[in-house]
Symmetry: C2
Subunit: 221 residues, 2 copies
């Protein structure tokens, strides 16, 4: 049963990250908290994610999905942009500044995240392969290059372009991916940037809510 | 010198793809043609892309960049979305249909392209490594999975959600990446989908313009 104005978000019941706020739904939960959109999280098991019912919502069988009346959205970038357009607080009103903030959203997801995704695959899916040790430094270099450029652009600013925006929200989330940690910590201003994101009250609320769900779902091993 | 309403797009003078329309600027050129936005292409050499002047426009030292008055955008997804918002023809007017089309833009760039990017790296940057032959099938499987799901969702429809949209434009472009060709051709409906995109007059105009630039730049080897 939904309360008025409340939207359902489907996500893992028991995230593989142990409630650390590292799964992709954290991006959307954080955005929901930033804009104050009431929501309820409905849990989807890993098995159910591959079934027809969930594939109708999310053709790639992943989480999260977002529902609002008849509208069903998947892709965290699209959900965050939708929320940013519906409410104030995640995109500047000035049209040029708004377009630049959206550019940072795409930069997070299409420039910075793909090599991190590749590094995560190298660690999680190929860590036991004979080539793993020799190959890992090559893949880390592919992550290092855009992070070096991102660090240079950020400089000593708080956020990527003026006020905090949906671009920062996605970028901080992408940089928090565990595979990237070792490379990120080579850039102190990116570490401080992530900490600024994590210190936002909306991030704390989203993180705490997610952690609580995990704690409740805990069963003895 | 710009004509009224004309915007500059900075791109490769001599694309490594030999003018086949495979570099990322094709996405933007195609979108510019779909919406009828006058533009002029300014060429950037590979050397100049890493210099301060270009890094001020594009912090990651890539192409394309898009300029409109004082506004400078990079990231093909952001530029295509900006053009789609400025003009008619790339996003539906109905708000729900519009949000779904934007979802497909992000799906192209954050779900379908990252494994293709990884496969391109496996071929171009690691083709001579001792692990290349054994590893390539693993990486192709990572591309195959989302393409299988995309093929299932597309079915026998012409486009991903109703009329042709910016989501289709980006998806067709991502699927045209050469690294993906062998996997894409396992899915006849995706092959036909790409062909439908390539048959659009705006795609032809963008492709021909790009090819002509390459032909002019040709010098004897």
């Amino acid at each position: 049963m939904l309360h008025p104005g409340q939207v359902p978000l489907r996500s893992h019941g028991r995230s593989p990250d142990g409630g650390k706020g590292l799964a992709r739904d954290t991006r959307v939960r954080w955005a929901l908290e930033e804009v104050g959109q009431p929501h309820v999280v409905r849990h989807v098991s890993f098995g159910a994610m591959k079934e027809a019912g969930h594939l109708a919502l999310h053709p790639f069988g992943k989480i999260p999905t977002y529902e609002e009346g008849d509208l069903v959205l998947f892709e965290t970038g699209a959900i965050v942009l939708h929320l940013a357009e519906l409410h104030t607080g995640l995109l500047p009103k000035d049209p040029d500044a708004r377009a630049r903030a959206i550019t940072w959203m795409f930069a997070a997801l299409n420039t910075v995240e793909p090599p991190i995704f590749e590094l995560a695959n190298a660690r999680l899916l190929e860590g036991d392969k004979p080539w793993s040790k020799e190959r890992l430094p090559l893949v880390m270099d592919r992550v290092r290059k855009p992070l070096h450029q991102l660090s240079a652009r950020l400089g000593d600013a708080d956020w990527l372009d003026g006020e905090f925006s949906a671009g920062d929200l996605l970028m901080v989330n992408v940089l928090r991916r565990p595979a990237a940690t070792d490379v990120v910590k080579e850039f102190p201003n990116l570490v401080a940037y992530i900490e600024r994101g994590e210190a936002r009250p909306a991030f704390r609320r989203a993180y705490d809510a997610q952690h609580e769900v995990f704690a409740r779902a805990q069963v003895p091993a």
